[in-house]
Symmetry: C2
């Protein structure tokens, strides 16, 4: 079943139609124009544009990194060409409303399209990812003038967007940012401020492929005493264009935003990652004064709350990117293992021909593990986008609860296990996989970023335990359990999957017991100290559930689907139950056996 | 306890003296000159040479890769300078007998010295590693003339050595090599052959730093029908010098060995890795004829058996290399986490100063995990070298049994978990760790080779289950259990470690039950299919045992050692029992729950 396409259409069709029933989103008024035909056409278009324009420069962009000179950052010209093609196909606008010049498609469908670009070339795809999330924030929270001036050109793909949160001294800890925003009157775009400070790790922070760049910047407005308010409460959000656009005021002037340096990364190199200085007042002085001109989005002090919208979308997109790198790592491994002949089955004489390594049990184990992580992660993230569609377009409160619960899981499980899938790809390729002649080496390096950016695994875990489990006393978790139970109940009727359901039910019970205990006694179980272990275990439970659910959906469609396809889903669900779910008790063990160990260990002993 | 030294002397002194009692090797006649003073002087020298000559070009060698032109391979000049310093210090000869011009030191001591070079710059250290293992094979199995002509200059550090096993079509499957060796008379160096064939993945296959290169090459001598014998039985071993040295015959002529290409690797880049063509007869024709001149080592058909000596040494060295990359990854992480301030303890107000991230529980968890893998792997490998000294110099039969059992563990556990330690180092460094400005990114890429070369993890696992567990019906395993039980018995008397011993005893019981079952019924438990899972579980049991043993030794020496040092060992042993040993049942689960799943899965379904 290996094919030359970036994404096997059968995989995506199954997930979207047979499993999620995404075509039924057409029942929601906003998506009433959606049809199977529009969906098929969009996926065709995505496969074509991604194959023709994103994939060919995958390795080139790894070798020819962005460069910086007096005029700014220069990126590989092929990236600009690819993004023009992406814009010309209207793909920036997929999920935006007709009113904003978009296609008004569900997020689920836009994600299925975007998956092609992520798997082909994640570093090039990062530009539209950030641009779309940026424009969505502006269309949701920005005034009409800002939308017209910045979001619309982003939706057309003429302007690109960034998110400027971290600073050199404040990575995970946004409470400690020191970028200042001082009121500077008002103009046609709204309440104007002058910003000064340094922002670190800004992907797409500068490039020479778009007409303009809209930075969304977190900064603090000083109080009457000139001091910044400690903590996150004092954070506000500003739209800071690279080139100013307010009609009649500074229009066409370069804003006081300067690239102070480029980060040279392990992978993901096509995405220019910058240290930006705002308000230096040296090279650019809009209107003759220092300070980067920015426009308040929302109200003062709401910055972080608003930015969470973009962060949550970006987290799902990071999960999707990790999943699609894992997916490509898996497909390349399947192709290699099917061709590379090495060794013989046990007991077969050495004068026979060697067999493809895909037939060796240990290689099958690695391929099954990859498939379970890669296709499992794609399913998990698409499930979350589907929840987002139901939550936003159909105001489904349960979908909102589940989405909030699962967002850190979709980000983290996909990043952590997607990376393992890429690591396994190197191992399956052996020495060849360790060379730069094969893509899997780069896929690993690209994927290594995903457990770090948009909130590290440790940060996601604290969010998950604190905000998603303990704060609502397990309400969303209980809701999720009812969905898991429904799948287990259906599984009991399947001869091939009843045992899988039984194992899943045991994992579900272990997790439910643990969550009950840790909500009742967070301190006694070391719940916050062991947040990562809990998120890891929970992620595997969710993945195991979705695998059983996928396998049941495949079995139900057995008359329409190729036999190998259905068998592959069933075998992977069985693999996951046999090899992966039994890991859960071990991960949870310290919460009962040694809950206080981490707190007790003195950091001086290292 | 962070220091600027490559290896904290306290760490090495503890392992060598307090834990292993390596100074007592002086009781063995071969090592009667060994003293604590010579050991200390050797470690001082190693730290100095490694810091001055190996560490400074660590990054340079990553960027300026080996290049190939008509004259051969050129490596970074600093590598040659470093290796000259290594030779001048006499370090090539550490473990060789006085008779061969060596220092006649135990392998354990030589490993402790070599650890400094591996941690400083593994790619440069690969040249002496291969050279020493090559010379040891020659001094053990080669005739006196070969020893004089090739091994002695290697022991002096003038010639370097390689091992030529794999071919492009035969990586893990040596049975399928097709390099041919045809008899070509005899000369002063012994039985001469002419070799032709291609060898792939040859580390140090060519370079411009040594006077000559001795390739040890596996090849097949055709039968009377001109055909090669299938399988490994037909493999013989040949010493093939780059420049011929047989007195009076071809001396000084270039042998018919040509570099056909360089592999461009993910990491480990300072080590030139070559595709070598033997016997092309184009550029070099020694004595006017095609065919690389090689000298038979041992008898025809013994090639693989003899080569296993070099492979076993190389496997321990790979384990040591992985351990030392993990060790440096950990030390750099400790330093970074102690300096990088970010966030506050739970419940502390945001107007206080941020704390070093080493004080956050999740970061402590990562530092403990790293320490357990890094120092655990160093201990495991040194333990194996100590067994090798006892087996070889004291003819200790139990030590031989344990060494055979533990060699695949030392190679695999160190490679797999050492790599995790390097991965965690990137995570602890956050975005900074993902940039090439910090060494941890390169340490990861360098370390990624270790689970692949000298036998992949899957190959080690098959060796472990088939040759080390099932073939001797668990005899060596039972012997090891008695050593584990002795440690557990000692642990019961320690207040701080009794619980750790109890957890270890449970893991020991789970493993012992499983090994009994799989020896009794290999097919029914899917033992060979699940070899990797068994080796993974067994490796963790061994590591947990050695951690308890280390912690007990540290406690016993509490009056002489710094408190933080002892507490660090005890905390890490407790961490390993609480967080790592509980993973074992999950890994072993499929052998009972789904033993035949991998065999049943059809490779076509991917």
């Amino acid at each position: 079943m290996t094919s030359a396409s970036l994404i096997r259409r059968a995989d995506m069709d199954f997930l979207l139609l047979d499993w999620l029933g995404a075509d039924r989103l057409a029942e929601i008024p906003r998506f009433s124009d959606l049809s199977r035909e529009t969906l098929a056409a969009l996926l065709d278009l995505s496969e074509t544009v991604a194959s023709r324009h994103f994939l060919p420069h995958y390795k080139t962009a790894d070798v020819q990194e962005p460069s910086l000179d007096e005029s700014g950052v220069h990126i590989l010209p092929e990236i600009g060409v690819a993004l023009s093609a992406y814009a010309e196909a209207g793909l920036f606008g997929q999920s935006f409303s007709y009113e904003h010049g978009g296609m008004q498609l569900p997020l689920t469908v836009a994600a299925a399209s975007f998956a092609h670009f992520l798997t082909a070339n994640i570093a090039t795809a990062a530009y539209p990812m950030l641009t779309v999330a940026n424009a969505r924030l502006l269309t949701t929270f920005g005034g009409e003038a800002l939308v017209d001036a910045l979001a619309r050109p982003e939706i057309e793909g003429r302007y690109f967007g960034t998110m400027c949160l971290s600073e050199p001294q404040a990575g995970s800890s946004l409470a400690d940012i020191t970028t200042r925003a001082v009121a500077d009157g008002e103009d046609g775009l709204g309440r104007r401020y002058r910003l000064s400070g340094n922002k670190m790790w800004i992907s797409g922070g500068d490039q020479d492929a778009s007409e303009n760049i809209c930075h969304l910047v977190l900064a603090k407005i000083p109080g009457p005493d000139g001091k910044l308010i400690p903590g996150t409460a004092g954070i506000s959000l500003f739209a800071v264009p690279k080139t100013l656009v307010a009609p009649g005021v500074f229009a066409g002037e370069r804003n006081d935003v300067v690239v102070a340096g480029l980060n040279h990364k392990m992978g993901y190199r096509g995405t220019a990652n910058c240290l930006l200085n705002f308000g230096e007042g040296q090279r650019h002085r809009p209107g003759g004064a220092a300070g980067a001109v920015g426009y308040l989005v929302g109200e003062p002090g709401q910055g972080l709350a608003i930015m969470f919208m973009m962060m949550n979308e970006a987290r799902l997109q990071v999960g999707l990117g990790a999943a699609m790198l894992a997916y490509r790592s898996h497909r390349l491994s399947v192709a290699y293992a099917g061709e590379r002949a090495q060794g013989r089955p046990r007991g077969v004489m050495p004068d026979t021909r060697p067999i493809p390594i895909a037939r060796h049990p240990d290689v099958k184990r690695m391929l099954l593990a990859q498939k379970s992580y890669a296709e499992g992660a794609v399913a998990l993230v698409l499930y979350c986008f589907h929840l987002a569609d139901l939550a936003e377009a159909a105001e489904d409160a349960e979908a909102r609860q589940l989405l909030d619960l699962l967002t850190p899981v979709a980000k983290t499980w996909s990043s952590e296990w997607g990376l393992v899938a890429s690591d396994i790809a190197i191992q399956i390729h052996g020495g060849y996989g360790y060379t730069r002649d094969f893509d899997v080496e780069q896929l690993y390096r690209d994927n290594r970023l995903n457990p770090i950016h948009e909130g590290t695994t440790g940060i996601q875990a604290i969010d998950f335990i604190g905000r998603k489990l303990i704060r609502d006393k397990g309400e969303a978790f209980t809701l999720l359990l009812s969905r898991i139970d429904a799948t287990i109940a259906r599984g009991a009727a399947s001869a091939a999957l009843a045992e899988t359901g039984r194992v899943l039910n045991m994992a579900r019970a272990a997790m439910a017991d643990m969550v009950r205990e840790l909500i009742a006694d967070p301190a006694g179980t070391g719940a916050m100290d062991n947040a990562t272990a809990v998120l890891t275990a929970f992620g595997h439970l969710v993945a195991g559930w979705l695998w059983l659910d996928q396998a049941l959906a495949a079995e139900a469609a057995r008359d329409r689907l190729p036999t190998e396809f259905v068998d592959g889903k069933v075998a992977t669900a069985r693999y996951f139950a046999a090899y992966e779910l039994p890991k859960i008790p071990g991960w949870l063990s310290p919460l009962r056996a040694a809950p206080l160990l981490l707190s007790e260990v003195n950091a001086e002993l290292f």
